[in-house]
């Protein structure tokens, strides 16, 4: 029998911007088992509902993540609005959708850069992040914040975008599309990149589904789930094709995210065309008394906010189930049987956000 050794991977590692630890059980160079470990930076955000009023908690929820912060805030607001039966104005629903899709662009471009860095393509990394700056500029111009937007609130949004600015944003999307096309051509058609990603970190459709994979990790294995199909925000009024691939390897997950960039710009264009005039918020009175499971599609996959109120201004519970937490079991399945040298690329392929996970 081959001797087994355990190699610790993380919590500090060049490909990991945030700490996660994996005990890799190896036979020679082959990974035979993996034991994950998180909890190095758990912040206890969920506990803060007991000390922050439900209206203030929007800004706490937003700080769960530094990349998809807007979607966290929005998902929390949708939960409260469902409990309190608040009808959010249509213009606000469209604005939420536009900012959500810009968040997805921001996140996927950031990930493409980090992914390129994980397989040693530094120039590609810099190009991806250069393009991402355009998205951050739009956030800054429309909300005042590049990372934390603070523009979502219970009952609508705190800021409107003028129709002139929306037209300008639509023109900017053409430039963005052109640059992203050049970038994704390298990821999807360069022989070296393809060779590095094809048949690496495979997870079957059934394993992905049963272990709880969500987002591009699931869709890369042919599991067609995307919470935008629930129709929250303005998604119910827009057309979009879910991007899936069936191979279930690192290349498939990269392909799904690459194509989703263009799906996002298309959604923003549609939203800009259809956005109606009108108010962007409604007055909220009272306090939530009830419970709701809100689900939204973050760039990394399905996000669940479970909210329970008891009619007071402090909630009983806010439970945030982030996509990375549920993508950890599929990651273990991907790593079992791989070569040690492939571990960093496979770990990055699920787009881990430990900051979200350690909410």
């Amino acid at each position: 029998m081959t001797k087994q050794i355990v190699v610790p991977f993380g919590p500090q590692h060049p490909v990991l911007p945030e700490p996660i630890h994996l005990d890799l059980v190896l036979e020679d160079e082959r990974v035979v088992d993996v034991i994950p470990s998180i909890g190095y930076i758990h912040r206890g955000f969920e506990k803060l509902v007991e000390k922050r009023e439900f209206t203030e908690y929007t800004y706490v929820a937003e700080r769960t993540c530094g990349i998809c912060s807007f979607i966290h805030g929005m998902t929390y607001c949708v939960g409260i609005e469902q409990i309190m039966k608040i009808d959010v104005p249509e213009r606000a629903q469209y604005l939420r959708t536009i900012w959500s899709e810009y968040s997805r662009l921001h996140s996927h471009l950031l990930w493409l850069g980090l992914f390129a860095d994980s397989f040693g393509f530094e120039n590609l990394f810099m190009n991806a992040w250069r393009i991402r700056e355009r998205v951050l500029d739009v956030f800054e111009q429309t909300t005042g914040g590049r990372v934390i937007q603070g523009s979502c609130k219970i009952g609508g949004v705190r800021r409107d975008i003028t129709n002139e600015k929306l037209d300008e944003m639509a023109k900017g999307l053409d430039v963005l599309d052109r640059e992203m096309q050049e970038l994704t051509n390298v990821f999807l058609h360069d022989a070296t990149v393809k060779h590095r990603l094809r048949n690496v970190g495979i997870i079957s459709r059934n394993d992905a589904y049963m272990t709880g994979a969500v987002g591009p990790t699931a869709r890369g294995s042919g599991v067609a789930i995307d919470m935008r199909k629930l129709g929250y925000g303005a998604y119910g009024k827009l057309n979009f094709q879910m991007v899936t691939d069936s191979c279930g390897d690192c290349y498939s997950r990269c392909l799904v995210r690459s194509k989703e960039l263009f799906a996002s710009t298309d959604l923003i264009r549609q939203a800009i065309k259809k956005i109606p005039d009108g108010p962007v918020d409604v007055k909220v009175t009272g306090a939530p008394d009830g419970e709701y499971f809100t689900r939204a599609e973050q760039p990394r996959g399905e996000l669940v906010h479970y909210i329970k109120g008891n009619g007071t201004k402090f909630l009983v519970r806010s439970r945030i189930r982030t996509p990375t937490l549920t993508n950890i079991p599929p990651l273990i399945k991907m790593l079992q049987g791989c070569e040690l040298a492939d571990v960093p690329v496979i770990v990055l392929s699920i787009d881990p956000c430990i900051s979200c996970t350690e909410r």
Binding site: E50, M210, Y306, F314
Partner: protein
């Protein structure tokens, strides 16, 4: 407007495994396990999704109740069950990967088992 169908079905702890098995056989995927401290008891919600419909099984337990693990049916449930143990102190029996309280490292043991909500009216 309700976004997607969602139901909550309260069940006894003894029926948990049977109910989860039924959902698994019907093709549901595990979406989340959420624990809530309500007064002196804990509500545990097992959320399952199929075609965008959310089916929640709810058990209500006291702090000293041992809850059976569902990792035999949903292999990936260990992340939720370990989290539930580390934050709320819920004892889970038969997990496939049991971190024995080290999955989430906290300065205070079982920090979510005590509620300090102010409960003021708006």
């Amino acid at each position: 407007m309700t976004i997607g169908l969602q139901t909550i079905k309260p069940i006894e702890v003894s029926r948990l495994i049977g109910e989860v098995e039924t959902l698994k056989n019907a093709g549901y995927r595990l979406a989340a396990i959420s624990c809530v401290k309500v007064g002196e008891v804990f509500e545990i919600n097992y959320s399952f999704d199929k075609e965008y419909e959310l089916e929640n099984l709810r058990i209500t337990v006291t702090g000293d109740t041992e809850v059976p693990s569902i990792t035999g049916m949903y292999w990936g449930a260990f992340v939720y069950e370990n989290e539930m143990h580390d934050l709320f102190g819920i004892q889970v029996r038969g997990m496939n990967i049991d971190f024995k309280g080290t999955f989430i490292r906290t300065a205070i043991k079982y920090p979510f088992s005590v509620t300090t909500a102010k409960g003021e009216k708006p």
